[in-house]
């Protein structure tokens, strides 16, 4: 439609995204309804609980920006966590364990990337396949049992404090900053956006985009490895179902945050807001002792409502 040459100035106005409204509204609501909500202890509690999801949602944002999807993340996290636990139990070395977890994550990222970029298998299918593979391997290496006997110092990664701030919050903030710089201040970030927006533009610009795409999925795998460290520290064990289904939570948080599934239209800060919104919702509902079944329905309603807001806005403009 050549005739739509004039762009609406509305598009350039910073509209308040659905996720920000949701987060503000929920926070206000819980602050009024539950005295415990607005305490330093509880807020830090919400942040700490949100870190593992954030670590998955950050690379998921990039992956979705490339018009991709990684359904294997939760299962890879689980497998990496088991491998980390097994290594730490065997060697008492957290460093070796972390290397093992990262290796698992990177390996699965490489396989995902190769299937998607190399064999051109649609991301949903490829990662649905590796989801099964990782889940199966997790069951096989653990034989369905928890791996315990992890030394107590590992717990400090999750429950310790650094400079008076809970360590997971620092880890989450650090990785958020890292991803922000990566996405908005490096070539890599620009190319990630172009991977979803226009791959031909990259080819013509002389960028080897297939390798980049593999790198994006490997980044996802690596972050699953990092998240595995936090998960293992959190439950002080490796468990074969610890993070099953977490990838869907991450996808929902990214979608909540306004990243769309096509054209490389992503918003990293929105992802952070999306993760926090889910965290605040769960925490607030727990504080109010809302029955679990109502909580479940609320989460679904929130996801639909936030997306509806964005959908209404996009049809209006």
């Amino acid at each position: 439609m050549t005739d739509q040459a004039v762009s609406s100035p509305l598009l350039r106005l910073p509209a308040v995204p659905g996720v920000a409204v949701a987060l503000a509204g929920l926070s206000l609501l819980f602050a009024l309804a539950s005295p415990g909500f607005l305490t330093a202890g509880n807020l830090s509690n919400v942040l700490v609980q949100s870190v593992i999801l954030l670590l998955l949602a950050l690379p998921m944002t990039l992956i979705i920006m490339t018009e991709g999807l990684d359904l294997s993340m939760g299962a890879v996290l689980t497998l990496a966590s088991l491998v980390l636990a097994l290594i730490v139990v065997a060697t008492q070395s957290l460093a070796l364990g972390l290397i093992g977890a990262l290796a698992v994550g990177l390996a699965f990222g490489l396989v995902n990337g190769w299937l998607i970029a190399g064999l051109s298998i649609p991301p949903f299918v490829a990662t649905l396949g590796t989801l099964g593979a990782a889940q199966g391997l997790a069951l096989v290496v653990s034989d369905g049992q928890s791996v315990v006997g992890i030394p107590r110092f590992v717990r400090l990664v999750y429950s310790g404090e650094t400079f008076g701030i809970p360590t997971p919050i620092l880890i989450g903030a650090g990785f958020y900053a890292l991803f922000h710089v990566l996405l908005y201040h490096t070539r890599f970030g620009t190319y990630v956006c172009a991977l979803g927006g226009n791959r031909d533009a990259l080819t013509l610009a002389g960028v080897a985009w297939k390798r980049l795409l593999v790198a994006v999925y490997m980044l996802g795998g690596a972050m699953a490895g990092v998240a595995a460290l936090l998960m293992t520290a959190r439950i002080n064990a490796g468990h074969p179902t610890a993070a099953i289904g977490l990838e869907f939570d991450a996808i929902a948080a990214v979608a909540l945050g306004g990243t769309s599934f096509d054209k490389g239209n992503g918003w990293l800060f929105g992802t952070l807001l999306g993760v926090l919104t889910v965290g605040v919702l769960r925490n607030g509902l727990n504080l109010m002792a809302v029955p679990s079944s109502v909580q479940v329905a609320c989460i679904g309603a929130l996801v639909i409502a936030a997306l509806l807001v964005d959908s209404l806005r996009s049809t209006r403009s």
């Binding site: 064999l119 590796t130 889940q135 979608a255 329905a297 989460i299 679904g300 997306l307 996009s314």
Partner: protein, 324 residues
């Protein structure tokens, strides 16, 4: 003749039969699987076990066949598993309260259908991406089911009703007849009605479909409604087979149903796939799991094997498509 039409003349021979070829390869895979299992274990190639496999495949098929139509339009329905749970619970309540299996069946189908229509409205009218809309719906349905059931189960239905799930007719389980009936109905709907053709057209290019005068919104709602109704059908068969309803009844079925459709050759980009392909997909998945059970393979390997089959099947089609 211009270059363009020269180029156009070449690949017809292959093209003509591509879909048929795909199906043929899949049938071959089924045959090879059966052959391998017959050699590996005597228990496999018995009438009982074959019927057993078919009956197990039927549950997967009911879910996956409705899903296939959704996938044909380029969408996805993640709520089918949760839909089964709620539909079954409502149906069970009605059977218990009224003693009438017919009313209960109607309730189950109506619940499934209503949920499907909600999904369709969200996708077609509110323009929420189907992946997210149905994922949200999944949570909402779980919430309602948990709240409604409050951790209880409902069990013990009239024997007549249970025939739907566990009965036999001429030595063949009733669910197998149901599966064949829905296979026939689904295939006729998709291939031999104008609605089916329109659904393929929507999946192939939604914008062009709309500008060709296809009522896209209504067809989308129809497709999601159909998927919901098939979940309702599945819930009734489930109920009759298990003789009890509980909240998480369909929980683990969603991803296998998607896998069955993908193994059957459906493309998530829309416009490609068939109900018959999905039937084969469900059969392959069930055969593999049945074989692993018969061979006493550690159940831990099941997800891994399922994942590999999905990738293999899709990759196989990609290679075939590239060659043409």
């Amino acid at each position: 003749m211009s270059i363009a039409s020269d180029a156009a003349t070449r690949p017809i021979g292959l093209h003509l039969s591509r879909e048929t070829q795909q199906l043929a390869y899949r049938l071959l895979a089924v045959a090879l699987l059966c052959l391998a299992l017959s050699i590996a274990t005597e228990a496999f190639f018995t009438a009982n076990n074959i019927l057993n496999v078919l009956r197990q495949a039927s549950l997967l098929f009911f879910l996956a066949s409705g899903l296939t139509l959704v996938i044909l339009t380029g969408g996805l329905d993640l709520s089918v598993g949760a839909n089964i749970g709620l539909s079954a619970c409502f149906a069970a309540t009605v059977i218990k309260a009224t003693g009438s299996p017919a009313l209960g069946t109607l309730t189950g189908l109506a619940t499934g259908l209503a949920i499907g229509i909600c999904n369709g409205l969200m996708v077609a009218k509110l323009r929420i991406p189907s992946f997210i809309a149905t994922y949200g719906m999944l949570w909402v349905l779980h919430g309602i089911t948990y709240y409604y059931m409050a951790g209880e189960t409902i069990h013990g239905f009239p024997p007549g009703f249970r025939q739907i799930g566990s009965g036999y007719f001429l030595g063949v389980p009733i669910p197998v007849y149901l599966m064949l009936a829905f296979l026939l109905a689904g295939t006729i709907f998709a291939q031999r009605t104008i609605w089916g053709q329109q659904i393929y057209a929507i999946g192939a290019n939604p914008v062009a479909a709309r500008l060709t005068g296809i009522p896209v919104d209504r067809r989308l709602i129809l497709v999601y409604a159909f998927s919901g109704a098939m979940a309702g059908v599945a819930s009734i068969v489930f109920l009759a087979r298990l003789n009890s309803a509980e909240g998480d009844i369909g929980e683990a079925m969603t991803l296998p149903a998607i896998a069955a459709a993908l193994i059957g050759g459906a493309s998530l980009f829309g416009g490609v796939g068939s109900v018959f392909g999905t039937f084969i997909g469900a059969l392959i998945l069930t055969l593999v799991l049945n074989g692993m059970n018969l061979l006493a393979v550690n159940a831990n390997w099941q997800p891994l094997v399922t994942g590999l089959i999905v990738i293999l099947a899709v990759w196989f089609d990609m290679v075939g498509r590239r060659r043409t």
